[in-house]
Symmetry: C2
Subunit: 317 residues, 2 copies
Amino acid sequence: MSSKTKQKKMADYITTTTDNSKKRARNNDGDDSESKKPKSTQVDLNKINFDCERKSAKGLTWNLKIVSWNVAGLRAWLKKDVVEYLKKENPDIICLQEIKCTEKQMPDEAKLSGYKIYINSGDKAGYSGVALYSKTIPISVRMGKEIKELDDTEGRVIEAEYEKFFLVSTYIPNAGAGLKTLPKRMKWDEEFRKYLKELDTKKPVVLTGDLNVAHEEIDIANPKTNTKSAGFTKEERDNMSLLLEQGFIDTFRILNPEKTGAYTFWTYFHNSRAKNVGWRLDYFISSKRFMDNVCDSTIRNEVLGSDHCPIVFYINV
Amino acid sequence: MSSKTKQKKMADYITTTTDNSKKRARNNDGDDSESKKPKSTQVDLNKINFDCERKSAKGLTWNLKIVSWNVAGLRAWLKKDVVEYLKKENPDIICLQEIKCTEKQMPDEAKLSGYKIYINSGDKAGYSGVALYSKTIPISVRMGKEIKELDDTEGRVIEAEYEKFFLVSTYIPNAGAGLKTLPKRMKWDEEFRKYLKELDTKKPVVLTGDLNVAHEEIDIANPKTNTKSAGFTKEERDNMSLLLEQGFIDTFRILNPEKTGAYTFWTYFHNSRAKNVGWRLDYFISSKRFMDNVCDSTIRNEVLGSDHCPIVFYINV
DNA sequence: CATGTTAAG
DNA sequence: CTTAGCATG
């Protein structure tokens, strides 16, 4: 049974695509002859296998696909043929982090038809912000600011309840240059850990997003020179360990225990991406008891659009 | 006698071109295959007549050419084939306004060989700033901050003394959105007028640059709708009249009394330049008694590079 | 609409 | 290096 047929039956019955298409009725005296083609900033998408051969522990084929992507500014990201990619990937749920815009600022091209869209954009303009796209309407949705355990004024968390699991998409605070916001991060990690522990008592949890930490040495290209860098301090790594000790699994790593060079982020400096000098900062973390539903957890390292790449989670529910 | 021969004998005996060429020795693993050609942003320069047929009142041909240009950010301006234009224009003196950079920030491409370069960059980073390029070394040069009559902390004035005249290049303060800096502008105009009056007692003065005022209705495309706009208020226009009443001449206008549609600035909005919805804000103003030396005062409205175009002054000295 | 900041990553 | 903000024009 192909994924296409599976996905077809879930899609297209709901849309939030507004049609007040912000037509730029501007004072333009017919002088737009220059047709600036932005020249494809995307790789050849035909080389990508969007399906997944792996089965769940119970031998079942996936029937739900989740994509997570730190877009580092949704408006700039949209200009890089990312919608074409998303259409081919065709996930049931899309989690975006660092959208850096409000719902009002969101261009129409971002309002993918077939998805219900939830946005938590936070207070500071142009900073942080997360979005969740879902083909099916979740049982319930909570923004970070509605979650009592969290102090989320910056648009860092969206929680969506589905029949078999909670999905939590997050953009965890960066510890900052010179680690100047490491204390804020430590506080966040603690609160977030408690929140997930509590949530996990109700129903299995799938946590995804930019956790802003490379957990182990295998998860970063230059472990030795980055022990004082935001995202690879002992403090942040230990907090990730604490989270996992609460009964959560790093799904990519458990499926690929020895795989090196598997990163989801490369700084824009020094051609890092071309050299694969990267970090694995984006994860699908699953409640241990939900692992039987997991088919695969993969990294789309070819796909361009921001300094992070998308990651893909295939499950059977 | 061609201007080329004339200019040859003045040129090339002085240069400030430093050769510590800021070579970007960067961590670049041979991945710069993309050779991004910026595609010509300039018009066809061969269509321009860089010479001037007009003679001075005494029947003499020009032997000194001055160009003035508000570049609206020298670093961005440099990317628009402007050096190619300047080489073909080949002026003896170049006055630039709104360079928005310091001497240290100035790219090497801006250090045109054959010219001595003087820079007044002011305090605020990326704001205002003027430069003067001269093939011959002036008798003396004063920056605005060295002129006692002026309070020039923003990099708005360079004064150069030549044998027969003073050249003053200026970028006059904009009255601002909602005219919120009109008081500052009024104060500046008064001080500047006094300064020029004093200077004019010593030697004839040529004032050039962005005076940030369209003097008369003929100097602006939409006089009726701009009476409350910075650059066309009664206050600013009256101050320009006061300056002229002190014994100065608007050289372009005296040579072209009825010429309409002659502008040196077009806002970037609404395709103004393509529609020639512009303002004449850039001038060559001459002491009345120096008018006998003036051959022509022209506008290079075809030449691209900023929201202003260059203006050219041909004199015999 | 364009330029050069700034803060943040 | 890149995004988005802002102030200024």
